[in-house]
């Protein structure tokens, strides 16, 4: 048996929640759907790490701009695994059985949310492998032709994909707490995932890029048809006018902007966790989680708008 929080003996103790989290981590880590997603992401990671996507100097949006794209299958799997795990409880059967145990639904949801760490760690491993492969090849080349440069990805850039995948898992749990149907939740999750990953070019456009769940540290700008040499030199890489664009498209790694973007994604994870908890029964800690998530989201979004002039330009490059 465990001791509850001192002075507030109305909820189970932290060691019970930790034990629930450990159990959920075990079940999540054994889930074949998650491993299928991880396997597809691993293939994607291997492909983009070896086919020159990051090293040959392609378009600023197609090359380094797709740094986190290989994690997309893992993100979808994480959403489904989180959603299905949260929906294991059926209202008339298991939920009824669990109601009479000391652990409330709120505690069970909290335990499940902790399992978001499993897909996040898988994503981190994949990103670390990608990082190692790219660094071994001399770094990432941004832009093409004479307006390009090579940079070494920083550890900060390993964080984005794990955060996005964790966000997908938590979103799956939150979805389950709002929509009780596995089928509807899965379809909505797939649509959301397709919007975020399949149509990834949307997130190179302002202001949508600010709100992307997954994007690289590269920010882009449209330099028009006749930029000055000084203006061209200001950027890590530039795509000259071509088949797809009549203007110069510039891109640069902006770690400050990226850090703020990661703050926003972290806020999204916390906010969605708050929604899942809010839908799992009353607990005074839910409000703190929601407020923390909201603050991080506001900080991340406002910060991105503040540090990058182009972030607020409607349909401009970002």
């Amino acid at each position: 048996m465990t001791a509850a929080v001192a002075g507030r003996d109305v909820v189970v103790g932290r060691d019970t929640v930790a034990a629930m989290a450990r159990a959920e981590v075990r079940y999540t880590a054994r889930n074949p759907v998650l491993w299928a997603g991880a396997a597809l992401s691993a293939v994607g990671t291997w492909y983009v790490s070896t086919d020159g996507t990051f090293t040959e100097g392609r378009s600023v949006t197609d090359g380094y701009g797709t740094w986190e794209l290989a994690a997309a299958p893992l993100a979808l799997a994480a959403f489904l695994v989180g959603n299905w795990a949260a929906l294991r409880e059926r209202p008339a059967t298991t939920a009824e059985m669990f109601t009479s145990t000391p652990a409330r639904r709120w505690d069970r949801t909290l335990g499940l949310l902790a399992a978001a760490g499993v897909p996040a760690i898988l994503a981190l491993v994949l990103m670390a492998a990608q990082w190692t492969a790219v660094v071994a090849q001399g770094g990432v080349r941004i832009g093409q032709g004479r307006w390009s440069s090579t940079v070494t990805p920083t550890p900060l850039e390993l964080v984005g994909a794990p955060l996005a995948v964790a966000c997908a898992f938590v979103a799956g749990v939150a979805m389950a707490r709002v929509v009780r149907s596995r089928a509807i939740g899965s379809v909505l999750g797939f649509v959301g995932w397709a919007f975020l990953y399949v149509f990834f070019w949307i997130w190179f456009t302002a202001p949508f890029g600010v709100f992307a769940v997954s994007r690289s540290s590269v920010v882009t700008a449209d330099l028009g048809r006749d930029p000055s040499t000084a203006e061209l030199a200001r950027w890590d890489g530039v795509d000259p006018p071509g088949a797809f664009a009549e203007t110069y498209l510039a891109g640069s790694r902006d770690l400050g902007f990226h850090g703020l973007h990661l703050t926003y994604v972290l806020g999204l994870v916390v906010l969605l966790a708050g929604v899942a908890l809010a839908r799992s029964g009353p607990d005074r800690r839910t409000r703190a989680v929601l407020v923390a998530g909201l603050l991080l989201v506001v900080l991340g979004v406002a910060g991105q708008f503040l540090v990058h002039d182009g972030a607020g330009t409607w349909m401009g490059s970002l």
């Binding site: 048996m1 909820v11 103790g13 159990a23 059967t93 298991t94 009824e96 059985m97 009479s100 652990a103």
Partner: protein
Amino acid sequence: MTLPVALAGVGKRFRGTTALQDVTLELRPGVTGLLGPNGAGKTTLLRIVATALSPDAGTVRVLGADPADPAGRLAIRRRLGYLPQESGAYSGFTAFSFVDYVAVLKEMTDRSARHAEVRRVLDAVGLGDRAHQRIRALSGGMRRRVGLAQALLGHPDLLVLDEPTVGLDPEQRLRFREVLAGLPDDATVLLSTHLTEDVAALCPTVVVLDSGRVLFHGETTALAALADGRVWDAEAPDPRAAVSWRTPEGRFRNVGSPPPGAALVPAGPEHGYLLLTGSTAAEQVAS
């Protein structure tokens, strides 16, 4: 001594339907059977005792605590085992992993002690050799026993079992009776059933519920005694009987006011129950 369960004036309505009405009940340690026809309010009563449902009226004390108070509710749940009518279980889990998960929810945080307890309850319900089989591969009766196993976790002071013998074959029912017989004397068990033979075999005391009201609460022998001298055998249903039903031998068992010279038969709890609840329950017993 604190009564394990004490209800006073408890009422519950669901969308205009009265499920429980002014139920006052005090249960002592031991096994109490809850009998009643379909829709009598048995499940509602069990859910209230198991803290899964709040009453609309009246007061409830379970194991000395008030389930309306969060601290009281937690205190009750720490000493409670509950098997709902439809227990369900995660079909993709093994019996062991599912019961282990419930053990975690019951605050058993020490892994090795928890696993030992899971093995104990699975052995108790005869599933020790099926522990690592997925629940979807188990029969309905075995799944029911998985539900029973989770209710037994941690030697609860109060066991609330809703139709625990449904889906069990005769051998399994015998084993279930052994499980209950093996519980400590100070444990309290409240179980609902349609089977008066379960009550006769298991329950020293019985509560008869009908239309949300308690019709009888007392010793099972006293329930049988209600029908003493009022059960008789006949060639045909007797119009003077409150209830009649056909026996497997093709004769008719009648319960009510016997005619002079009637062939009286010994009364059991089912006869007392039928006298109280009438024809609705008679159909259940006959079936």
